[in-house]
């Protein structure tokens, strides 16, 4: 690749990258706003789903009453971090509550 082309490629790529990063950050914010009121994020982050499957989940949760404001960003964030091409989530363990007062 010659130097001019490289510069051109960078010029084209960087705004796109910046936009993506900003979108992902908006998506993460949206996750906190629209998912966290009803359940922990662990339920989301332990899954690895295709874009189509995440999209269906957003439909389902919208039907169950959440009001997603920035849906495109949320979907992009979910696919980028928890897509079905990502490695499996590391297992998490709860602490020992066997001696604690029962609910």
């Amino acid at each position: 690749m010659n130097r001019r082309l490289l510069i051109l490629a960078c010029a084209l790529a960087s705004p796109a990258l910046a936009a993506d990063q900003a979108t992902l950050e908006r998506g993460q914010k949206e996750e906190g706003r629209s998912c966290l009121p009803c359940h922990s994020l662990r339920l989301i982050h332990s899954q690895r789903l295709s874009k189509a499957a995440w999209n269906k989940e957003l439909d389902k949760m919208t039907g169950w009453g959440t009001k997603i404001q920035d849906r495109d960003a949320l979907l992009e964030y979910l696919v980028a971090n928890f897509g079905d091409d990502k490695p499996a989530a590391p297992p998490a363990m709860s602490g020992d509550g066997s001696g604690a007062k029962k609910p």
């Binding site: 009121p37 359940h39 602490g95």
Partner: protein, 377 residues
Amino acid sequence: MFATLLSAAAAARLARGADDAVVIPGKRPMILHNDRPEDLETPLRYFDSWVTPVDAFFVRQHIPRPAPIDPKTYRLTVDGMVAKPLQLTLDDLRKLPQFTVPATIECTGNGRAFYSPKIPGVQWGRGAIGNAEWKGPRVADVLALAGGAPSAAYLDTDGADMGLAATPDFVRSLPMKKVMHPATILALSMNGQTPDIHGFPVRLIVPGWDGTSSVKWVIRLSATAEMNRGFFMNPGYRYPKFSLPPGSPPKPAELEVIEGMPVKSCITAPEEQAKLPLGAVALRGFAWAGEQTIERVEVSTDGGSRWRDAELSSPKLPFAWRLWRLDWRPSDPGYYTILSRATDSAGRVQPFVCAWNPSGYLWNAVDRVGVTVEKAA
């Protein structure tokens, strides 16, 4: 482009769900799928007894558990197509004849994580299952107090838990034939203890059926002519009548309510990818078959070429699992693939390939664990 992803530290923080320490009161350390509401899986190392202790029993919550119920003010409403609608106290339930039912409860989605392509939902491995001794009055006796429900086809059971926002209420319908079965009870105790997070003070036990049938925190039994139309009866907890190619969408008209559970065995020891010293190895596990009994468990230590019968625990009961054991003495070091396969009283045999289904229910493929046997140093 990975530069656009979260930093490693941020990803690690997210993986922890932004909670640094989650302790579930009354529970040993459990595999944590969700802490609010609680979805807890039993680690395989706890499965060393026929009765699973309450503090090790798995937990599945669709919606947050209700505020603690005061046993003194607790009321069970029995209504709908009964001759005499009524409200019962906990003492009323205690005065009825009490029956102990040993029964395995397994989450309908246990093993979902093994399906490919991936399926949305809690990514249960092997441990969303447990066996307990449930005790309480028969549902048939409770209905008799209300004058019976001779013309009803279903009994709707509602728990005290309520969905957040527009999440549907958790209501399940059970066909009257199963309702009237003498082993279908309202459990007031679990292994002689209060059921706590498992539905205190009253939970339904539907032996041999998927765990979702056994509604917790029961506050209402309603006799009805038709099956409840809520989400948790349709499309939730349904299974395709005809098998689908993996990854394809469900055909809503061809989904059926799940009733009895399939035949299944599981290897609990040694654990996946364990390293074992050359010598005697105890292979262990459990097997259950819904409303049937377990007749046989076969184990292979060579990937399925040769099979040996495992020793099975007593008693042999419908609804409750049997533990199995086989002593194995590998003659050489190396990598071994151990398989287990159960057969039940109806002649059902655990399949090598479990049919993919759109909700990831009823995983029961032949279980498989890989271990490395190492020469003693």
